[in-house]
Amino acid sequence: MTALVEIEGLTKRFGGFTAVDHISFSVGRGEVLGFLGPNGAGKSTTMRMLAGFMEPSEGRARILGHDVRSDPIAARRELGFLPEGAPTYPEMSVGGFLSFAAAVRGYGGRERAARVAAAMELTGLEGVRLQPVETLSKGFKRRVGLAQALLHDPPVLVLDEPTDGLDPNQKHEVRTLITRMAPHKAIIVSTHILEEVDAVCTRAIVIAAGRIVADATPAQLARLHPSGKLDDVFRALTHATAATAQPARAA
């Protein structure tokens, strides 16, 4: 298994506060990594550093060997990124927005049209192609963001809460989509819905207060608590760390 994403000692400090504290892991092709943690644990910050949106204070991140700081454009070419909240330009039509993203990614003419059409088909957006994004429901907006991340069929996908705000049917569709793409890609999905980990992830990392507190398969993770429920494991892991990390953070 070759690692498509490598993260070594990644750290982000905001003033005296350490949001992400020396995180290291790598993700290979065929893996779906669930990135778990309470709100404010550093999930989005880690993903933003990986996408090259935030500068790490320390450490490095590589996508297919391209360092996200020294070679950001090459790294981003291999990456599909869905930012938290799936932001898109409200006044643009769905087709117009995807076409813009495809153009920035270097596609022109027929190829661009084909890429946009394929991404809309994958995410079920054909029916709203001409609608301005601002008129869409939350679930459709999220799918527009997802379509943008899938346009160029990237080997690495980083999705920050892809199912947040979706109804159960839409959640199921997104999970099916992730599972279908999984064999060919390295996928990192952040979430705080634990059933999702069971449903789509081959591996889960739990972070709390900026540190990795567990890195295992969902089944191994479940065995960490006598009840065998991911819920209880999650609570036990993240509470313990939050309690011990508090004095350290103040110092």
Partner: protein
């Protein structure tokens, strides 16, 4: 350059998709007409030139151009789309340049729509059309300078009101120094600053163009002034990207 043009095209599309373009152009033309013909005494001057028209340009720009630039980056930040835009394979400098070019092209289009003024003076007399053309070139460069300032200020905040007021204030600083009241005060109170103020005054250089003089030093000044603010804009975007 390809990425720059793609960003510029999207940005221009956003002006057209919202009422911004129509409102801006209508108000710009209405104010400019009112000021030139009424306050500027266009007919009373009894001269076939556009001096009255160009005299008001800096002040109209001072109020309207920050209205264009205030949304450039502040809105991206507020909507969170900056995170999407800057994780596409393009550099911050390309995004800054694309947005600036779109705003500039838009201002040039608004200026082009003042062509009835040119027709009017040509109908009424025999103006120096060379000087008028030079005046338009000066106006385009002045617009570029104000846009570059406004864009950089917009990159500092997510609040469009702050972006607007900040841009008006900074543009005013570079506009006001060419006016006798200000320069007289500076010469008496702070002589060393007066020299500097005269050198960086955008309006004084613009007035040279209106007189029909295209001085290469002025062209160089505007080019480096715009370049400097675009560079600052890129730095601001990088530094405050994630706020």
């Amino acid at each position: 350059m390809r990425a720059v043009l793609i960003v510029a095209r999207r940005e221009l599309g956003a002006y057209v998709a919202t009422p911004v373009a129509v409102v801006f152009i209508v108000i710009f033309l209405a104010i400019q007409g009112l000021l030139t013909f009424n306050l500027g005494g266009f007919f009373a001057r009894n001269q076939a030139d556009l001096v009255a028209f160009f005299d008001f340009i800096p002040w109209v720009f001072l109020l309207l151009i920050p209205a264009i630039t205030m949304r450039l980056w502040a809105e991206e930040r507020r909507l969170g789309t900056i995170e999407m835009l800057l994780t596409l394979p393009l550099t911050q400098a390309q995004a800054v340049l694309g947005k600036f070019l779109a705003a500039w092209a838009f201002c040039i289009a608004a200026l082009a729509l003042t062509f009835p003024f040119v027709i009017t003076v040509n109908y009424l007399g025999a103006p120096d059309n060379g000087a008028i053309l030079a005046g338009y070139l000066g106006a385009v460069l002045l617009a570029g300078a104000f846009l570059a300032i406004g864009g950089a200020i917009s990159a500092l905040t997510r609040n469009q009101v702050i972006a607007f007021v900040g841009a008006v204030a900074v543009c005013f600083l570079f506009a006001a120094t060419s006016y006798p009241v200000v320069s007289a005060f500076l010469s008496s109170a702070l002589p060393w600053l007066a020299v500097l103020a005269r050198r960086i005054s955008l309006v004084a250089r613009f007035q040279g163009f209106v007189r029909g003089v295209i001085d290469p030093r002025d062209l160089l000044f505007f080019a480096s002034f715009i370049g400097f603010w675009l560079y600052l804009n890129t730095l601001f975007v990088k530094a405050r990207q994630t706020d």
